[in-house]
């Protein structure tokens, strides 16, 4: 390194660093090409931006997402499979100042936890759901999920998902959109820098809604699972863009973020009556 380089380095400004919400002495352990690491990074950055790391609790579902439990630096627990929205209900109701989010995969949220997800959304619970949809059970080794695409092979659907036998993929944002209470439902991905930024903004909006007392928000993130899809990382990205996005189109499904919280809206209605 010569003198010129040394001078330039001093003039460099630090514009990006690893989120403090990850432990420095650990690695995540996710498979190559997996997007969980990116999503946790985005969550951590948003929590830091909002200045709420010291009052956040994460409720992990069961599955690959749990690999993050060791290395995030803030409060967390792991719920029984599918029950994250019930556990989050108990935490948030008894600690309204906390920022509470669940982090769940498709099997957890849409199969075993369908009742808990629907009911928490229907009650308009004031917490945030981060739903990572890769169309397959990851941790257990590639079984068919409620979001597995028609024709897509899984270890428990070796001939591929057959609608006659297995039905069709479930669209959770659209299903929750049938309910009155939810405030914000958006489907994102992390396949391009642009989509990573969109996902980050969606997480920020969902968390801000919660801090503003508005109620239930869910950010669905459609991701890859190269390991269980049986593809290279690049092929998996291509499959994501061609096939997964065709079934699960990205975009805002509902956004009442600009509205007042329901309880305040009712109060203003009362005033009008008076």
């Amino acid at each position: 390194m010569n003198g010129t380089d040394m001078r330039n380095e001093k003039e460099l400004k630090k514009v990006y660093s690893r989120t403090s919400t990850f432990r420095k002495d650990m690695v995540a352990g996710f498979c190559p090409g997996c997007m969980h690491g990116t999503v946790f990074k985005l969550i951590g950055e948003v929590l830091e931006e909002l200045g709420v790391v010291d009052r956040t609790a994460c409720v992990f579902g069961v599955g690959c997402c749990g690999l993050a439990m060791e290395y995030i630096t803030y409060d967390n627990t792991t719920s029984p499979h599918g029950r994250a929205c019930a556990v989050a209900t108990g935490i948030k109701r008894t600690n309204e100042n906390m920022l509470v989010y669940t982090y769940q995969g498709d099997g957890d949220l849409a199969a075993i936890g369908l009742a808990e997800t629907m009911s928490a959304a229907n009650r308009g619970e004031n917490f945030t759901v981060i739903f990572v949809n890769n169309g397959i059970y990851g941790m257990t080794g590639g079984q068919m999920a409620p979001t597995t695409l028609v024709g897509m092979k899984a270890s428990t659907a070796p001939g591929g998902r057959d609608p006659k036998e297995h039905g069709y993929p479930m669209h959770m944002c659209e299903i929750l959109n049938q309910l009155t209470a939810p405030y914000y439902l958006e489907r994102c991905s992390c396949n391009t820098p642009q989509n990573v930024i969109k996902t980050r903004n969606a997480i920020r909006k969902a968390f801000q809604n919660q801090l503003d007392g508005k109620g239930f928000s869910m950010v669905e993130i459609v991701t890859t699972c190269p390991t269980n899809w049986g593809m290279s990382e690049l092929d998996a990205l291509e499959f994501l863009e061609d096939k997964m996005f065709a079934e699960f189109p990205l975009g805002v499904v509902r956004d009442r973020s600009a509205e007042k919280p329901d309880d305040q809206a009712e109060k203003s209605d009362d005033r009008e009556v008076e």
Binding site: Y74, D75, T78, S79, A86, R93, N95
Partner: protein
């Protein structure tokens, strides 16, 4: 006595005792014969700044309690028999993560959907396997509404002391009967806050990672060594409960026949024992008030050169507490039974007849 007695239904008295002990969160799902517990909480908790949620299922309800109790809030759920089976998932997770919570089984006939009438068919589940993973809990078996109140009030303190679930094992009689009770004092809001703050370091209440350790409430994880250590720590806790045994006894000093039963059948049996002792019969009585820990020591101290037989009285077929009595008696005398099941409630006359048969050297059937 200057304390005010009030006339209350068992379920409602249990709920009021919980609130007075500092319970500020309840989630439950309807099932007979315990519906008055969630109904009472739904009205009562908002009055004290607490939260009631009617869950979409027993699974959801117990996991809401898992969440609420994870913040150090005193939290409770209740159900009956087949509903308790569903709660076993969340209870096991609470036992693994060492979360303090209280739940109540107003038990009914079984197995399966069984019958909605009173029964004691859940003893083995309550004391041995309330979920997967070989955990244990303190299990209180109240015999009347006053005991249900006192035990529920204390249950939250035991749960917090051990950071472990505690079960109140009642039955349909206890839940629906009305009796006069003296309610324990209402804990002040400052006291309830202090109790929650005691758990602050451990609880999911937010911690600044730059200054302090995060709360990490773990029902199991990736490390086999850590999970083994969890099991070792838990087993040590379970062993420590020998000091917490509660038992009621009558006439063991001269008894030739010892009658034993818990909860409502223990209470029915006591009527028969008292009647026969008044006649001069040498009948003794052991009623476990904690069925976990079980009062093995009380059975150990019996004079087996004199005790001709033990009469196990239960509303369960097959007899389930009898398994613990067998462990305690170790074949030193014979164990006979007086049983009902399916929602049939025994009479004190039946118990009396069984005792008379044993006193005369016969068998119960």
């Amino acid at each position: 006595m200057s304390e005010k007695r009030v006339f209350m239904k068992g379920c409602e008295a249990i709920a009021e005792a919980a609130v007075r002990s500092g319970c500020r969160f309840f989630a439950g799902y309807p099932i007979t014969p315990q519906n008055e517990i969630p109904e009472y909480f739904a009205r009562r908790l908002p009055e004290v700044g607490g939260h009631f949620v009617q869950g979409e299922s027993e699974l959801a309800s117990v996991n809401m309690v898992y969440g609420a109790a994870s913040t150090g809030t005193r939290a409770m759920t209740s159900s009956s028999s087949c509903g308790i089976s569903l709660k076993s998932e969340g209870v096991s997770f609470c036992a693994s993560a060492r979360i303090p919570m209280v739940y109540c089984n107003i038990s009914r006939g079984g197995p399966g959907i069984g019958s909605i009438q009173p029964s004691q068919q859940d003893y083995a589940q309550a004391t041995r396997a309330s979920g997967n993973g070989g955990f244990r809990m303190m299990v209180f078996a109240p015999g009347d509404v006053q005991e249900a109140v006192d035990m529920t009030y204390a249950a939250f303190d035991y749960a917090q002391r051990d950071r472990n679930p505690v079960l109140i094992l009642g039955d349909g009689v206890l839940g629906t009967i009305m009796e006069p009770v003296v309610l324990p004092p209402m804990r002040s809001e400052e006291e309830v806050r202090r109790l929650k703050d005691e758990l602050r370091d451990w609880a999911l209440v937010g911690h600044d990672p730059k200054k302090e350790e995060r709360a990490f409430i773990l029902p199991g994880g990736w490390s086999t060594k850590r999970q083994e250590q969890t099991c070792i720590n838990n087993a040590a806790l379970y062993d420590s409960w020998v000091k917490d045994v509660q038992v009621e006894t009558i006439g063991l000093e001269d008894a030739e026949v010892v009658v034993t039963g818990y909860g409502i059948s223990g209470r029915i049996a006591r009527s028969a024992v008292n009647k026969l002792r008044a006649e001069g019969a040498r009948v003794g009585y052991i009623r476990p008030k904690t069925v976990s820990p079980f009062p093995y020591e009380t059975f150990e101290k019996l004079d087996y050169s004199r005790v001709k037989a033990i009469l196990d009285v239960e509303m369960s077929i097959p007899a389930l507490m009898k398994l613990d009595v067998e462990l305690a008696v170790k074949d030193r005398t014979r164990i006979e039974t007086c049983l009902h099941a399916g929602g049939e409630i025994m009479s004190s006359r039946e118990v009396e007849a069984a005792i008379r048969a044993l006193l005369q050297g016969g068998r119960t059937e």
